[in-house]
Amino acid sequence: MMNYSSRPPEEPAVHAQDLTVVRGPRTVLRSLDFTVPRGRITGLLGPSGCGKSTLMRAVVGTQAKVTGTLEVLGSPAGHPTLRTRIGYVTQAPSVYDDLTVRQNLHYFAAILDPGRAAADRRHENVTRAIADVDLTTHADALAGTLSGGQRSRVSLAVALLGTPELLVLDEPTVGLDPVLRRDLWQLFHTIAAERGATLLVSSHVMDEAERCHRLLLMRAGEILADGTPDALRTRTGTGTVEDAFLHLVDEATAAGRTQETAKETTR
């Protein structure tokens, strides 16, 4: 299913083998094998409920009932030393509504980089992160009084605070306007290029897929395809990633159907 020959020689940022996750009664991820290369932006795409958030939670180490192998930055996922090296944005904005934007960021900064000696550095980081998500004019507003998109930007700013080697962003641009989305994607590319950081970004929006270096297309807890946007388009003979994705979904559905009818007939 996967093309390992395109794997860069250095160790990937994330390496999964036979990764399975059970949530409640359901097996949400089924025996996934994939890698996320270092220093690149990998897009995680797929329909609602296919398991994108679950996969990201497994990578960050907040998901229970994970089986199989999952190596993140050379350690097993969830390893304590990874906690300073990964930035994570949950799908629902997770910030304190009864604190201002700046107070939110100062608190999380104090957790990442504690101590009085680091106060100046923290202040700089907080100011920069607020500017990165374009909230400077709202820095002293309570998070609870912000609009939906503004709140999710506060949540994103928290992940931009330190200098994480791996950024796991769960739908960071949902509900944002085109200008801001373009700016944020530019920021993601800058982070990848200048810091050599790895980004794993999930999205519903297929035009964002074109901005990724590599794509993982998911459907119903499985990985449908894995490759560069160009490779996917070429492989499916389509013009856009969206068409490529639809093509692959139809293909998979058809394959599933023939398998089922085969089972029926042998019964």
């Binding site: 960050v60 180490g61 994970v66 097993p76 304590p80 990442l112 504690p114 309570l142």
Partner: protein, 267 residues
């Protein structure tokens, strides 16, 4: 946890070269400052927490207008009970909100020790309890004529330990509440039986032996006993020391149990 593979995402990476595990003072104080800052944006809650005990004591003083002796006993007991109830409620709701807003997941994916988080909460609510108890004790002793034989400082010490116990219980039960409705219902479940059996309504030796035995096992009984020791004796009695140690021990035990309910990995 069902991790089958040895190199799997190990949830409890105890064998790892773990980062500093013990309490981190800066992270603890940052957390306490954050909790207090959140409360500062909610002045009504603070006002209610501080004023209600005073109003109740005032009311009680004139309910027992003719029998000062009764006011002494009940007043002293209430000085121990108020901090416990208030901190129980505030902590259980605050922790529940932390769980449901996703900020707990985010914090636990960061290099924050569970101990730091819990100590931070205990510190913040402890500070608030001091303000509450100083006002209530001051009002009772100097304005309402509560007749304490011992030192009012000892009353304050017991009140502080009670607040800690309330924080611990609130933190612990919030793990079992899925909503604010349930969290509030834990108050009658956890607090009322203790209230009935702590000796507030009738001296514990006068109860049915079974109930007396149960009351011997409930921490609030010792909080009230401790208060009454201060009421009657000029110096620290052995019984007082025992009561204080039991309340403190219970608080620590329940805090530890509460820490165990904070899971880095959730389903």
């Amino acid at each position: 946890m069902s991790t089958t593979h040895p190199t799997t995402a190990a949830p409890t990476a105890t064998a790892a070269p773990a980062p500093p595990r013990a309490l981190n003072l800066s992270r603890t104080t940052a957390t306490a400052a954050r909790v207090l800052r959140q409360l500062r944006h909610d002045p009504r809650t603070i006002a209610l927490m501080v004023l209600i005990p005073c109003v109740m004591l005032l009311l009680l003083r004139y309910v027992f207008d003719g029998s000062a002796r009764v006011f002494d006993t009940i007043g002293a007991s209430l000085l121990g009970i108020f901090p416990l109830i208030t901190m129980f409620l505030v902590t259980s709701i605050a922790t529940l909100r932390e769980r449901t807003s996703g900020t707990l997941e985010r914090l636990l994916a960061m290099p924050l020790g569970k101990g730091d988080l819990i100590a931070g909460y205990a510190l913040a609510f402890g500070a608030l309890a001091i303000v509450q108890s100083v006002l209530a004790t001051g009002l009772a002793v100097w304005f309402l004529g509560l007749d304490v034989t011992g030192s009012p400082w000892l009353l304050l010490l017991v009140a502080l330990l009670d607040a800690l116990l309330g924080t611990a219980l609130g933190l612990f039960v919030s793990a079992f509440a899925a909503s604010e409705f349930q969290a509030v219902q834990f108050m009658p479940a956890v607090i009322f039986p203790q209230l009935l059996l702590c000796g507030l309504f009738t001296p514990r030796p006068n109860m049915h032996p079974v109930l007396e035995a149960i009351s011997d096992a409930l921490p609030m009984s010792y909080a009230v006993d401790g208060m009454n020791e201060v009421l009657r004796h000029t110096d620290m009695t052995a019984a007082f020391v025992r009561d204080v140690l039991i309340v403190a021990g219970c608080a620590l035990l329940v805090l530890t149990l509460g820490a165990a309910t904070l899971k880095r990995r959730t389903p």
